[in-house]
């Protein structure tokens, strides 16, 4: 099947990052035997008039062995577009907030629709998309690309070439990121930015393909004749010289540096398009645009490369410098350059003008040996990250292989397949166990079984997901999975069921927590625990959500209980957050979040008290208690009274019952996830918080240490509340502590991905089906 590459402008000579990338990918994929067709417009380049068709329409073939199909561009409302674009460009970057549209919906619409217009291209895609296996679309910014993603959906791999600019905050762009079936990123920093802007919902389909850099290891034959003498020390800037690339900052900083060290021989050399206002800066030389050969020569001769730009999705020159064994100084706020510099330990980072000036001093002092070492580190990093062969391998792995592109075979008739059904007391919207049950059902269906969920109480919002419980439904099952917490009236039916069955234990809250608030319910809990040993002989197969739960099962007499953790799939969040909440919550106040239903064992009351201490250090912070409080529940009343007795009504938010979109907004805008919970069977919100990169501070109890694994930072009963509050403050305010936490959490969360949990579910199915095969036989 053909691979389509969609890009607004395309040509051998085009200089832009995305255009070059497209050329390289097309050429190299063609060279590796793929049938590649580039779909683009008749407009020559980004710099030309977007309404003029400079190039002939139709199909042509490049000598590199791939086809180019061009479509005419159409007239557009230039005046409106210019107005909106002007507005977008004039926005203060500091006011841009993820998930909050920066301009009105009408203007946003104009921006997307009145940029370059290629209706014929879109029409063609609609009609002929099935002639292609998949498409790579780049870059994210242009209307035709955003619309093409919508048209191509499951076939679309968007290669955004994203950087932090106002366009990236448009809701239409966010939508395209969600609609694409795959996202290809050029650098870790770019992926990081995308996750920050669009949330963890895109994680599962994000692939870091990287970008290659052509390196010509030709020996230095110039003898330095083209450029000064050999002992001359200079810093090199390669690229366009304008505000967007941050060159004025570079020059100002260099002037400051020279003011401090007027006699220093370290100079700054600029090479590239555009004009730099040198203003008689001492020690700065602007060479203008230079040839490739000259560029290599400069790279060989420089002390280090400086890359002050904040708007990069991938910096080619940075990789080129590293391939030449030269260290790089990059802007600390640009994720795409800062992350590799840090990771490779191959240079320096600076932020403000002052920091850059200091950095020059440091560079001036650096010993030859240190510079060489940093450059060498860079060379090693670039050799793997920017190697075209490795990059192309990543493309090939990511793109669906030709065989899977064949039209789907007829769906298998599974009406005769065995039915593994699930039974639980209730199914509720947004509830972790309910979501888990739904996930298990989907898995069972993909394993080839029939599978339904039967519950006693149905939340109308999830009514489509389940059926009312009947004893007949149990009897009609080939095998049953029973989710157990406290016993209900469905328990006897499941006990009586003679077929193969598995009990999944979600734990029973110890009664002592409930005694002071709801003694009648505490009795039910006590009874629930007493009944456990009675269930044990009836369920030869059993699982706990955690080792902690499995241990309780074993203590109750269950035979070899296993562990089936709750699968936490970040794709659950691949939907827009609540915009209004996103706006309200990003008001500069610190947001501390806890997500759970209200219950005495969750200790929201203690959290409120600890938070009152925290406020001494961060008086405008807010505590968000996300979870549905039951009306008139004595514990909820107690929590509310605690809040008012401490005078915290303005600082503590009770969200009430919320939608997934609202919960996403709370997660995405929070700075800390703080749990005082004294009893957890598993703790799904802990893993969710990890997906939103919230540092987690948790009380060490029950299954919490197990769930947090290698990413735990916990306190115990002995810790004073003021100390816990102090620790919370450090987690909010201390960058490096946060980073340490988050990087451990990023590893930990992978353990609960559906792909990790599915095999464990398969084991259960294997145990069950062994029995029912016997029965059937």
């Amino acid at each position: 099947m053909k691979l389509g590459i969609v890009i607004p402008w395309f040509g051998r000579e085009l200089k832009g990052g995305a255009e070059q990338q497209a050329w390289q990918v097309a050429t190299r994929l063609a060279a590796r035997g793929h049938q590649v067709e580039v779909l683009t417009t008749c407009c020559r380049s980004h710099q030309d008039d977007w309404e003029t068709n400079h190039l002939p329409r139709g199909l042509s073939t490049e000598r590199e062995g791939f086809a180019v199909r061009r479509f005419p561009v159409a007239a557009r409302d230039r005046a409106s577009f210019d107005r909106v674009c002007g507005n977008l460009l004039s926005l203060d970057p500091a006011t841009l907030q993820p998930g909050v549209p920066p301009i009105s919906a009408e203007d946003s619409d104009i921006f997307v629709n009145e940029l370059i217009k290629a209706p014929a291209l879109l029409e063609y895609l609609k009609e002929s998309k099935h002639d292609y296996g998949s498409f790579i679309l780049l870059p994210y910014l242009y209307g035709p690309i955003l619309k093409a993603v919508e048209i191509l959906g499951a076939q679309a791999a968007l290669q955004p070439c994203l950087h932090d600019e106002s366009y990236a905050y448009l809701p239409e762009v966010a939508l395209a990121f969600r609609q694409a079936s795959q996202l290809f990123f050029n650098s870790e920093g770019e992926l990081e930015l995308a996750l920050r802007l669009y949330g963890p919902g895109i994680w599962s389909k994000s692939i870091l393909v990287g970008e290659g850099v052509e390196f010509d290891p030709a020996p230095d034959v110039s003898n330095g004749s083209h450029f000064q003498d050999k002992n001359d020390r200079f810093l090199l800037y390669l690229g366009r010289k304008d505000e967007g690339k941050n060159t004025p900052l570079l020059l100002r900083a260099f002037r400051r540096f020279r003011a401090v060290r007027p006699n220093c021989d370290l100079r700054l050399v600029l090479a590239g398009n555009g004009t730099a206002i040198l203003n008689g800066s001492e020690g700065v030389k602007d060479l203008g645009l230079v040839s490739e050969e000259k560029k290599r020569e400069l790279l060989r001769g420089c002390t280090a490369l400086v890359q002050p730009s904040q708007k990069e999705s991938f910096s080619r020159v940075m990789m080129e410098a590293w391939l030449h064994g030269k260290p790089v100084a990059a802007h600390a706020c640009c994720l795409a350059t800062a992350i590799p510099v840090k990771k490779a330990r191959a240079g320096w980072l600076a932020d403000s003008e002052e920091e850059w000036a200091k950095l020059f001093v440091e560079l001036d002092r650096a010993s030859e040996k240190d510079l060489r070492q940093l450059g060498e580190n860079g060379r090693n990093y670039a050799a793997s990250a920017a190697d075209w062969d490795l990059v192309m391998q990543r493309y090939e792995t990511a793109l669906p292989s030709p065989s899977t592109n064949e039209p789907q075979s007829q769906p298998v008739d599974i009406s005769a397949a065995p039915a593994i059904n699930q039974f639980l007391p209730d199914l509720a919207y947004g509830d972790a166990i309910s979501n888990h049950a739904i996930w298990i059902r989907e898995q069972l269906r993909t394993f080839g079984f029939r599978s339904e969920i039967y519950v006693r109480f149905i939340d109308p919002r999830v009514a489509r997901e389940c059926h009312p419980f009947t004893p007949e439904a149990v009897e009609a099952s080939d095998a049953a999975i029973y989710h157990h917490s406290i016993g209900t009236d469905i328990t006897p039916c499941l006990r009586a069921f003679g077929g193969p069955k598995c009990l999944i234990y979600h734990n029973i809250t110890p009664a002592e927590f409930l005694e002071p608030y709801r003694p009648e319910f505490a009795q039910i809990l006590t009874q629930g625990r007493k009944d456990m040993p009675l269930l044990a002989p009836q369920f030869p197969t059993s699982r706990g959500d955690s080792g902690y739960n499995a241990k309780e099962l074993a203590e109750a007499g269950f035979l070899n209980p296993g562990v089936l953790p709750v699968a936490v799939d970040p794709a659950r969040w691949d939907a827009p957050p609540d915009y209004e909440l996103m706006r309200t919550l990003q008001d500069g106040r610190t947001n501390i979040l806890y997500v759970s239903r209200f219950a005495p064992n969750k200790r929201q009351d203690q959290l409120v008290v600890a938070f009152s201490h925290y406020l001494q250090l961060d008086p405008t912070a807010r505590l968000i208690l996300a979870g549905k409080p039951e009306v008139n529940d004595p514990y909820v009343v107690h929590v509310r009274e605690t809040v008012s007795s401490l005078g915290l009504e303005q600082s503590v938010v009770f969200t009430g019952s919320i939608t997934d979109a609202q919960l996403q907004a709370y997660y995405r805008t929070a700075h800390l996830f703080w749990s005082m919970s004294a009893h957890e069977g598993f703790g799904v919100p802990l893993i969710e918080a990890m997906w939103f990169d919230l540092p987690i501070l948790a009380f060490k109890s029950s299954a919490v240490p197990e769930t947090l694994g290698e990413a735990a930072l916990m306190f115990d009963q002995e810790t004073k509340l003021v100390e816990v509050a102090a620790l919370a403050r450090l987690l909010v305010a201390d960058r490096s502590l946060r980073d340490n936490m988050i990087s451990a959490q990023r590893k930990r969360r992978l353990e609960f991905l559906p792909g990790k949990v599915a095999p464990l579910l398969k084991n259960i199915v294997r145990e069950l089906s062994a029995t029912f095969c016997l029965r059937r036989a």
Partner: protein
């Protein structure tokens, strides 16, 4: 206890920082324990729908026309028989009056309509203004909410300003220096104590230092006087700003307080002390402060209570021109008679100036000239001024 499974986090180090942050919390909650939250700004109820009356159509022209045509019909027709004409004329007069009344009413109706029109316009304007006011008020409320959180933020981030810390440090250093200075130049503890014995009788005669009539010593310094009073079983306490001096007094188990003398006196009840003394303090104060000090002294003394102040005697030229400058914290000498007048002006009576501590004369003062010279150069180095609060009135 805090624990982590993350190998990148050093718990011991973290715990140190946690304790430091925690102590900040404790400090701040002490400071703001009673800090009430800002009162919430009450929400403005939504503006009621204001009904603006519209002026009706007075139909003036139509009414005028009707009246005019009615008037034309009033005249008695000639076809009416004469004997009936009187009757009709009467009817005509009645009709005319009715028509006149109607036209007056029509006019007033028209005027009223005009007024309603004006009131409506006025109401409309007022309504517009009220809506603008409500918007303005909402904007202000938002502004205040934002401002209060920013202020709270700033307050939280407020650290002790560096210069204040510096001030405290240097204050302490200065205090120690002054103690050193006193030890070097003022004269030894014993010597001073002995010299001050001179004033004891004044206290005794005024019953100062007896129960209920304690003596307050302003600027008590190393506590020579307080110790002397203690030895004489007189009730007394002292106040001084200098921490080093206070520490020394406390070592001698003297009752002292570290405070600014005037501020401290302000906090004392009136008529509460039998005596107020101040040795070598008045020359440290600016004129206005000194006046207030004498005023406060008068206020806290019981009727019949005694005030004693001692200061360098600038009538001695060596003291006035030279020695006075030994102490870098001296402002200007207080002339004895000036002090006397100041005390008098505050209502003190029985004033008495005592010249003390004459210097040794290095020559024979047998001649008149030498005697004058002796007085000018080697006369008393200090003077004491004793004053009483009148017993009555």
């Amino acid at each position: 206890m805090i624990e982590t499974t993350n190998p990148e986090i050093d718990v011991t180090e973290l715990m140190k920082r946690v304790r430091a942050e925690a102590s900040k919390i404790v400090d701040r909650s002490r400071g703001t324990a009673a800090g009430p939250a800002l009162p919430a700004i009450p929400a403005l109820p939504p503006a009621p729908a204001i009904w603006i009356p519209r002026a009706g159509n007075p139909k003036k022209e139509r009414l005028d026309e009707l009246l005019r045509s009615a008037r034309e019909k009033i005249e008695v027709s000639s076809i009416i028989p004469k004997f009936l004409r009187g009757l009709f004329r009467k009817q005509g007069g009645y009709n005319r009056s009715v028509l006149d009344s109607l036209s007056v009413l029509a006019k007033s109706n028209f005027e009223l309509n005009k007024k309603v029109q004006e009131i409506s316009t006025c109401l409309e304007q007022l309504n517009g203004w009220l809506l603008a006011l409500a918007q303005h008020r909402e904007a202000e409320a938002n502004w205040m909410t934002a401002a209060s959180s920013r202020i709270a933020g700033m307050a939280a981030n407020e650290v002790e300003p560096a210069h204040e810390v510096g001030d405290k440090e240097s204050r302490r250093a200065l205090d120690s220096f002054y103690l050193l200075f006193e030890n070097r130049f003022r004269g030894s503890f014993t010597e001073i104590k002995k010299r001050l014995g001179f004033y004891l009788p004044f206290l005794t005669s005024a019953n100062a230092g007896t129960p209920g009539r304690p003596v307050l010593d302003l600027g008590c310094g190393r506590g020579e006087w307080l110790e002397l009073l203690k030895e004489n079983k007189l009730e007394a306490h002292g106040v001084d700003m200098n921490s080093a001096m206070i520490a020394q007094c406390q070592e001698h188990a003297l009752e002292v307080i570290q405070a600014d003398a005037i501020e401290y006196m302000r906090s004392l009840p009136a008529n509460s002390h039998g005596g107020v003394t101040g040795f070598h303090i008045i020359e440290h104060l600016p004129f206005e402060t000194l006046m207030e000090l004498f005023g406060e002294t008068h206020r806290i003394l019981v009727p019949g209570g005694v005030a004693i102040f001692e200061s360098p005697n600038c009538k001695n030229l060596v003291v006035g021109a030279t020695n006075f400058n030994i102490d870098p914290t001296h402002r200007r000498p207080v002339f004895p008679e000036t002090a006397e007048l100041m005390l008098q002006s505050h209502g003190f009576e029985g004033l008495q100036i005592e010249y003390l501590a004459p210097d040794e004369v290095p020559f024979d003062d047998s001649t008149r000239e030498l005697a004058i010279l002796k007085k000018k150069l080697y006369g008393p180095q200090d003077f004491g001024i004793i004053a009483y609060k009148p017993k009555r009135g």
